[in-house]
């Protein structure tokens, strides 16, 4: 192996690795080892508790696992409702050539808006007494469906999940639309000539070609939604009674509310590990569908 060309190669990755090492690896190690301590974030001394924090998370912290389940539920809604919506809209837009740019702009507005505005608007719409939604339901004759969407334990989580999906579908829409546009028209035309109807075209051409894209969107959705929290704070603060708690909120509560910094770090590491495992499973699962 020649030395000079290899050195040159290393130069290419050097800036990235340097920045990464200093600003990610070092904090990561600091947080990682802190999970083994009990610390309030202020005192100069820390108490070593070994795996005590992790034991507590795994065996005693019921709320932690409830928050994971709830984040999983929100992610499930995102994977189904959000991505189905994104796909349908992309499919609808792919047919319409005229207003496509207009819709591309409009559908990307929710991701761009700040969570503050989105939280306020949704609260206003969903308010039990004065909200727009209940107002409309009453006008349409469904007054008995009206309820306190965000404070009712049965509806709070689903409502938050839908608000989240609304904010996030823009990215999926973008990717799906681009994907649909790469499918050459000739395929459809050839199929039509062969006598296939619209449903057939969809099933045999669109779906198989879109699967790799759907998998990619799926991975990004899972990673993004599992880590969501700002919108939830703005809408329900994790209530009522833990019904809309998610892992990141629990970590923040440990850090700030209970001043248990070490425990929060342990929670963060546990969360990270779970995400890695999920991504790994998904990656293996998707290998079958991707032509790598």
């Amino acid at each position: 192996m020649k030395i000079k060309p290899t050195l040159e190669n290393y130069m290419f990755v050097l800036p990235a690795v340097l920045i990464f090492a200093v600003f990610y690896i070092i904090p990561f190690i600091w947080v990682f080892q802190l999970g083994l301590f009990q610390w309030d974030g202020i005192s100069p001394t820390r108490v070593f508790v070994g795996l005590g924090n992790f034991k507590e998370i795994l065996f005693q912290d019921k709320i932690w696992w409830q928050s994971m389940r709830q984040a999983g539920y929100i992610t499930f809604i995102a994977l189904t409702f959000q991505n189905a919506l994104a796909f349908l809209l992309a499919w609808a837009c792919a047919r319409e050539i005229r207003l496509k740019n207009f819709y591309r702009l409009i559908f990307f507005i929710p991701p761009v808006l700040s969570e503050v505005v989105v939280g306020l608007v949704w609260q206003w719409i969903l308010d039990g007494h004065y909200g727009l939604l209940n107002n409309w339901l009453a006008q349409l004759g469904f007054a008995n469906l009206a309820r306190n969407w965000l404070s009712n334990p049965e509806t709070a989580l689903t409502t938050v999940a839908i608000a989240h999906s609304w904010k996030g579908f823009g990215w999926g829409f973008l990717i799906f639309l681009a994907g649909l546009q790469t499918i050459p028209r000739e395929y459809y035309e050839a199929a039509r000539v062969d006598g296939a109807n619209a449903w057939h075209c969809f099933k045999s051409i669109t779906v198989p070609l879109m699967i790799p894209i759907a998998v990619l969107v799926g991975i990004l959705t899972i990673l993004g939604t599992m880590q969501a929290f700002v919108l939830i704070i703005a809408m329900t603060e994790g209530g009522p009674a833990y019904h809309t708690q998610v892992p990141v909120l629990r970590i923040l509560a440990s850090m700030r509310g209970s001043s248990r910094f070490g425990y929060a770090c342990a929670q963060g590491i546990t969360f990270g590990m779970i995400l890695v495992i999920i991504s790994f499973i998904q990656y293996r699962f998707s290998r079958q569908y991707r032509r790598i």
Binding site: V31, L105, V116, L177, Q227, V248, I251, M255, G272, V276
Partner: protein, 282 residues
């Protein structure tokens, strides 16, 4: 004949339904924006009393007030400065690294790439604490450079991932041609790879611009001097300890949302192409 008419009617109704569907969703997307703008034109007293979308009186002076009181001039420039620096920084650093991961060979390549991927998936809670202590030791705390370097790291892993995926799919012919012409590796990167990657770079640009533009916790913690603060921090001054001045806050939020929307409009063509060619695999 009948079949034709039947098909025609079926097609038009289908089209109509599709249009309706698109318009309804589009309306729900525009609604918060309209509400934000309309609230920004009301007063503190009427902002929750007057429930209509079109305010009774138009208080355009809220925008001037928000700009002045929030000290937007300086903070706006700061935010633009940080966003430009970080985006440029990421584009350069990540494209160099992505190109190397894709095209060059060196020891530990796979391990390094794997670490970047893992970083994408593992969030670090409370990372601003070690970052603060670190920047302190490096004497970079309360400096623009320190903040910019931290922000470059935030989007680095995802950007490298996107660009490497793109470079992997790029046909090697153009690069081989350049090599034959005697171009250095750096030259190939600059003259061949980057221009071809323009679409993906557009995605990288808007993705990172959004992150930097909306960031405020790290800025608040790292910066002491007001002169270095970005826009989001100024916005927070309208969310008082007890009183939130909603019309001014909404005016401020509208002003803040505009540059990103403009950037998106500018990048839109490229983004569409970029998503097609860069992000999709297989």
């Amino acid at each position: 004949m009948k079949a034709e008419i039947y098909h025609r009617i079926k097609r038009t109704t289908l089209n109509l339904l599709i249009h309706l569907f698109l318009i309804i969703v589009a309306l729900t997307c525009i609604f918060p924006l309209l509400w934000m703008v309309s609230s920004s034109l009301k007063t503190q007293e009427t902002v929750f009393k007057d429930m209509s979308l079109i305010p009774e009186e138009f208080h355009f002076e809220n925008y001037c007030l928000a700009w002045q009181e929030g000290g937007f001039g300086r903070y706006f420039l700061n935010s633009i400065f940080y966003t430009v620096c970080v985006v440029l920084g990421i584009v350069l650093v990540s494209s160099l690294a992505a190109y190397a991961f894709s095209r060059l060979r060196f020891l530990g390549k796979n391990l390094l790439f794997f670490m970047f991927i893992a970083a994408m998936m593992i969030p670090i809670p409370g990372s601003f604490v070690p970052l603060y202590v670190l920047l302190n030791k490096l004497h970079l705390r309360d400096t623009a450079l320190g903040y910019i370097l931290c922000m470059i790291n935030v989007g680095l892993a995802t950007s490298i991932f996107m660009l490497k995926t793109f470079f992997d799919k790029l046909p090697q012919d153009l690069e081989d041609a350049a090599k034959i012409d005697g171009c250095s590796k750096l030259g190939i990167w600059w003259h061949v790879a980057l221009p071809l990657a323009r679409p993906v770079l557009a995605v990288v640009v808007i993705f990172n611009a959004l992150i930097v533009w909306n960031e405020y916790v790290l800025a608040l913690v790292i910066f002491d001097s007001k002169a270095l603060m970005p826009l989001q921090v100024a916005l927070m001054s309208f969310r008082g300890e007890f009183i939130t001045r909603y019309p001014l806050l909404m005016a401020g939020l509208t002003i803040t949302a505009l540059p990103i929307i403009i950037l998106y409009i500018l990048m839109e063509k490229y983004i569409n192409k970029g998503v097609t060619e860069g992000v999709l695999v297989g």
